[in-house]
Amino acid sequence: MMWLLAQEQAPVPTLGIFTTGSVIDFACVLVLGVIIWVMVARARTGRKIPDIKKIAGLEAVDEAIGRATEMGRPVAFIPGIQSVDNPQTLAAFGMVSHIARQCARYDTRFLALNCDPLPYAVIEEITRQAYLEEGRPDAFNPDDIRFLSAEQFAFVGAVIGIFERERPAANIMFGSFYAESMILAETGSFQGMIQIGGTANTHQLPFFVAACDYALIGEEMFAASAYLSKEPVMYGTVVGQDWLKIIIGLVIVVGAILATVSPDSTFLKDIIGGY
């Protein structure tokens, strides 16, 4: 019986090697991989890479650190509340090294407030490295990189307490946020902090837009680490993102034209859906 069932449903590989319906999916991964590879290779050999437009929210990071320096108050950083398997948290790591270096350079306190033990461990190491690279290993204070709680609302409570006691001048929130976004942004705004918020969680974005001075929307935060690094190789990967979007745009235009000209034709949809 088992054998019969297996016989009857033995799947057939598509194009010899792929699972059903995954050819186009894999092609997308491959295309972006190749584009990024090419752009990185161009950058490595010193060829020209297109410039990246200014992203106000990211330019404001240095401004915020500058203001905290002038006021002699700390900069707070919150990497969202999710763990290292979330791409947004990974994007936040790229930002940490930039902020930590700036803080080390200007001798401003850098407070990183964590809700998950794993990003906490990573951020501590990145910060230590950043202070080392700026030649200020003595200024690094491990107590400023804090794990507050793994529970969302207990974490919020602890952050509010820190906001009230240590009065940071700037609050940079960057990563995967949920219900706490509203509470954090409201508290920070009411205390007159300069606030920069970035997340790809669309249900929390509006609160960052309405309550923060600068908001990074969706993809902008995935480009942040590359943008702040100002390295041609990393710029190359951002150019790759743009190319993929151009391809998506063109496919949509072609698809819409086809749908308009011959509404019954499902040719393109069949290809994309079928393979």
Binding site: G21, A154, E219, A256, I272
Partner: protein, 204 residues
């Protein structure tokens, strides 16, 4: 409208917990802080106990001991390696589990997301024969342009298109905002119903 207060211990416990949290609205106070710390303690433990009996225990007893799938011993060792971060000279060993989790997450993004978002692309193949479809078509393209990082913003055409994209984005976020506000109040309403009807026993 006459209340009949509950005699159920469970309901009382729920009501006390709920009220303890709402004392925070007046101001931060000892009752809230007790509730908060109890909550934190329970939360930390619950997640661990749940994971322990669903993964660690079966791994040791069923998968390794009974089924002889000895490779799971490596998984356990990998997990334990994270504790090397407390040994300064060997803290680099803790990078191994970290890189495994990051790799898994990365692979997951690459493997499972394309199928879902490709359908979002094909869904934009709308026949341009109604105002609604045209607005969707234009909106998706303009929003994509807004996220272009390399196109020159000085170019008035690009800037104009990106501006339209920004309008779309703000309308989408405005919708999210409105719905979220109502949702949060609905949550409170659930708590209020619990207090009023289950605990105090008003007839609904």
């Amino acid at each position: 409208m006459h209340p009949h207060i509950s005699h159920d211990l469970a309901i009382w416990c729920q009501a006390i917990c709920t009220l303890a949290v709402y004392t925070y609205l007046y101001k931060d106070n000892p009752i809230f802080r007790v509730a908060e710390n109890v909550f934190l303690g329970l939360a930390t433990t619950y997640i661990f106990v749940f994971q322990f009996f669903n993964y660690i225990k079966p791994a040791v007893i069923e998968w390794i001991w009974t089924n002889g799938e000895y490779h799971y011993i490596l998984a356990i060792l990998l997990g334990l390696a994270i504790f090397f971060r407390y040994v300064p000279s060997l803290s680099w060993i803790a990078r191994y589990p970290m890189s495994f989790w990051v790799g898994y997450g990365t692979g997951y993004t690459l493997a499972f997301w394309p199928a879902v978002w490709l359908d979002q692309v094909t869904a934009s193949f709308v026949a341009l024969n109604s105002l609604q479809n045209i607005l969707i078509f234009v909106g998706v393209l303009c929003t994509l342009v807004y996220f272009f990082f390399t196109l020159a913003k000085e170019n008035p055409v690009v800037a104009g298109v990106a501006e339209v994209g920004k309008w779309y984005i703000m309308i989408a976020l405005g919708s999210a905002f409105g719905n979220t506000v109502l949702y949060r109040w609905n949550l409170f309403l659930t708590r209020a119903n619990m207090l009023l009807f289950k605990w105090l026993g008003f007839a609904s």
